[in-house]
């Protein structure tokens, strides 16, 4: 594996930033250079969040160009759709099968895009779309909040990096008392994708 580019998207508060921290850390752990870029500030206010993570022997730009990401990791379906054009043709999309309607939708002023529209858009870019029931799995594991780590588990199954590197990165990035819960979430997620 020489280089790998990840776009991570979600809604503020879903743990997008933690997930991208872990992915960047895994890149370092795998002996590569890693860079990560995101924008803070509004993330806590329920807005749309995007984070870029890049791995490589040498990484220059902290940003990925549109249409150049190897992976799109999306924690919410509308955000996945909004960012589908970041994925390179034939790239891998891992999408949490969860809808969080924005206020414009929940208040009845706009419609949440249908599954047909969602699938058609992704099919135009790639046939490698994984819909992950990560929220349900996270709740089974013990908390909706580890939804993001279930997704990381699923992602890890598609990458050629030792599982121990992922576990170490998670241990480093989450508070000690939640490590066990997060590792269980990771394990379950890893089993969801073959």
């Amino acid at each position: 594996m020489k280089s790998m580019d990840f776009i991570v998207v979600g809604v503020g508060g879903q743990g997008t930033l933690l997930a991208s921290d872990v992915i960047a850390q895994v890149g370092l752990g795998a002996g590569l250079e890693a860079k990560k870029s995101e924008v803070h500030g509004m993330a806590q206010r329920g807005g749309s969040v995007i984070s870029h993570v890049r791995w490589g022997e040498k990484v220059y730009s902290p940003l990925i160009g549109k249409g150049e990401a190897d992976f799109l990791l999306a924690f919410e379906k509308l955000e996945a759709l909004r960012h589908v054009d970041w994925l390179k043709p034939g790239g891998v999309a891992l999408v949490n099968d969860q809808a969080i309607p924005p206020v414009a939708v929940s208040s009845g002023g706009a419609e949440y895009p249908s599954d047909e529209r969602f699938l058609a858009a992704f099919r135009a870019v790639t046939d490698r779309l994984y819909l992950i029931p990560s929220l349900a799995v996270a709740q089974e594991v013990g908390s909706a909040r580890v939804n993001n780590v279930v997704m990381l588990g699923a992602l890890s199954a598609l990458l050629d990096v030792d599982e121990a590197v992922w576990r170490a990165a998670i241990e480093e990035r989450v508070p000690p008392k939640y490590v066990e819960l997060n590792l269980r979430a990771f394990e379950r997620g890893r089993g969801l994708v073959k």
């Binding site: 807005g47 940003l63 924005p102």
Partner: protein
């Protein structure tokens, strides 16, 4: 061992490693985390100042006293601190002084995208710019050395993409900076900027820039990376990364100091390549400096000066200018997704500002807003802010409208921290000049938008010490307000009554609308998610118009409440005409029963 650090974390680390003893700042995206991180290191003093001008004065005082000092701010913060920035340039310092300006190309969270390198040239202050987190850390040390060697403040200019990108950094140990001078410097000609002294200082600082120009020739963060001589790229900051990525074989002149630039090095480089271009974000700053040397380069004629760069944009603009062949274009698929509902930042569920705007919308009051979470009251469905310019502008603007004879009663609305920042002098002005402005302080007990920083109203300092908690009511009275009222932000009837009274009164008044931020740990403990009584709800839609993410329209048109999001603030319950949304007490009663 290398560690992934954001540019902000790296600057904090650098400040610690290179012996900064005192740092003062006002929070502002994308700069906030620098001081938050720095404050956690041992043997340092760090504070949140009331505004950037105060912060910079504090850092200057510490540097006068002989310590290494730092002040950090977002780009527009340097507008507030500009007066201090200019006199510090004139006086110079004793201990090293670095000022960090975090510019925000693309305006991720700002009202403009000014390029603060211009401030460096404006005030004759050298400007250094890192290309990644490692350089961000290293340049803090270099800036402090330059500061002491040349008796000048140094501007460390970063952008959002440097501040919030994490790249590997080699960590070092703390090197203590100089101790405080045994006596405070008594150098009348240097530190007292009376005209008689200032006239003598001006030639000194012009000469300083000439010396720095010479120094820049051997400054190790300026370097030429020779490659293919057909194309030469002069670049700095994060744009260096795009240059290396998009033009891997080109020659590159990387400038770690962008003011002043090194003339001989630039001449050698521009003369050594067939086509010389400048790749820099925002203003053609380096481009113009090079042109002032009488050299021809291209820059903004190729790469836009608006917004942020990214690799695709740089590649496409380079292809359009013939710098890269058409074959370099990377095609990608842009599927037709139709129009998607946006997801702008919104007032959180349980936000204490929401109810206030529900009432001002109802009363159709003209609102002069300010900078903070509450600016989001301008967005649909609340649509209840009519002007918003910069920190502290609300009160002065409302007063101006009043004095212009605007027939409506203009309201000024600002948050607790913003009031301390620049609201206070403006309110005093209203009182002094017999204005009638109604000033509303939305006191949510924290500096919220930048991520929950303490301020003079919270009773706690940046380094976690308890301190006096400044009360608004006596402060507002002291600033000349004869009518000061405090209402509960979550009690809509109370808010409405107070506003109606204020509007009726033909005098200035101040209203404190108090309710703690729903994201504060104390507030979180009190969440009681509300419920909708399906029988009573007739789907009228009134509750949707409070714009709360927790209220969801069901397929049958009726409302439901997301129990994972709802805090139980009861704003929607008070708006509901059919009493279909149960209040906290009702919910608790039912769950007990």
């Amino acid at each position: 061992m290398k560690k992934l650090l954001s540019g902000n974390e790296a600057i904090a680390r650098g400040a610690w490693e290179y012996g900064v003893a005192v740092a003062s700042a006002y929070p502002g995206t994308p700069s906030t985390e620098i001081l938050e991180e720095f404050a956690r290191y041992p043997n340092v003093y760090a504070e949140w100042a009331t505004n950037e001008k105060v912060a910079l004065d504090v850092a200057i005082g510490a540097a006068y006293a002989g310590r290494r000092a730092m002040s950090t701010m977002k780009h527009v913060g340097l507008n507030v601190a500009a007066d201090a920035f200019f006199y510090a340039s004139m006086t110079g310092i004793e201990g090293g002084l670095v000022i960090v300006s975090a510019d925000d190309p693309a305006m991720h969270s700002s009202q403009n995208e000014q390029d603060n390198r211009n401030f460096g040239k404006f005030a004759r202050v050298p400007v250094v710019e890192p290309v990644d987190s490692q350089e961000a850390k290293d340049l803090v040390g270099a800036a402090l050395d330059i500061s002491e060697q040349f008796d000048t403040p140094v501007l460390l200019r970063i952008t959002t993409r440097i501040a919030h990108s994490s790249t590997p950094v080699e960590l070092g140990e703390r090197r203590e900076g100089p101790p405080p001078l045994p006596t405070y410097p008594r150098k009348f000609e240097k530190y007292v900027m009376l005209p008689v002294n200032a006239r003598k200082r001006h030639p000194v600082i012009e000469e300083r820039i000439r010396k720095l120009t010479e120094f820049a020739e051997t400054f190790p963060f300026n370097r030429i990376e020779w490659g293919d001589r057909d194309l030469g790229i002069v670049t700095c900051g994060v744009a260096y990364q795009y240059a290396k990525e998009i033009f891997p074989t080109a020659s590159v002149l990387k400038l770690g100091m962008t003011y002043p630039i090194p003339p001989r090095m630039v001449r050698e480089f521009v003369g050594g390549v067939k086509r010389a271009i400048v790749l820099e974000e925002l203003d053609p700053f380096v481009e113009n400096e090079i042109k002032l040397l009488g050299l021809w380069v291209e820059g903004k004629s190729i790469f836009s000066g608006i917004g942020e760069m990214d690799p695709r944009l740089v590649r496409e603009q380079a292809i359009a200018a013939g710098l890269l062949p058409e074959s370099a274009r990377k095609t990608y698929v842009v599927p037709d997704v139709g129009s998607l509902p946006g997801r702008p930042p919104v007032l959180c569920p349980g936000c204490p500002h929401r109810g206030f705007y529900v009432i001002t919308r109802k009363l159709k009051l003209p609102i002069n807003g300010d900078i903070g979470c509450y600016t989001l009251g301008a967005l649909p469905p609340l649509n209840s802010t009519d002007t918003c310019g910069c920190m502290g502008a609300s009160i002065g603007v409302a007063h101006g409208a009043d004095k212009a004879g605007s027939p409506e009663r203009n309201i000024a609305v600002l948050g607790d921290s913003t009031f301390f920042h620049t609201g206070m002098p403006a309110l005093l002005n209203v009182a002094y000049n017999k204005g009638k402005t109604i000033t509303v302080v939305l006191d949510n007990r924290v500096t919220a938008m930048t991520g929950h920083q303490d301020n003079p109203g919270t009773g706690r300092t940046l380094q976690g010490q308890e301190t006096k908690e400044i009360e608004f009511e006596p402060l507002l009275r002291a600033l000349g307000m004869d009518h000061v009222h405090t209402v509960n932000a979550f009690d809509l009837r109370e808010v409405e009554r107070a506003l109606r009274e204020a509007v009726k009164r033909d005098e200035a008044s101040a209203l404190v609308v108090r309710g703690e931020c729903a994201l504060l740990p104390e507030a979180r403990k009190k969440y009681v998610p509300l419920r909708v009584d399906e029988e009573r709800c007739n789907g009228c839609g009134l509750c949707f118009r409070v714009g709360c993410p927790a209220i969801v329209k069901r397929p049958d048109g009726k409302a439901s409440i997301d129990p994972l999001l709802c805090t139980g603030c009861e704003v929607c319950a008070q708006v509901c005409g059919r009493k279909a949304i149960l209040f906290r007490a009702q919910v608790l009663e039912q769950s007990e029963g």
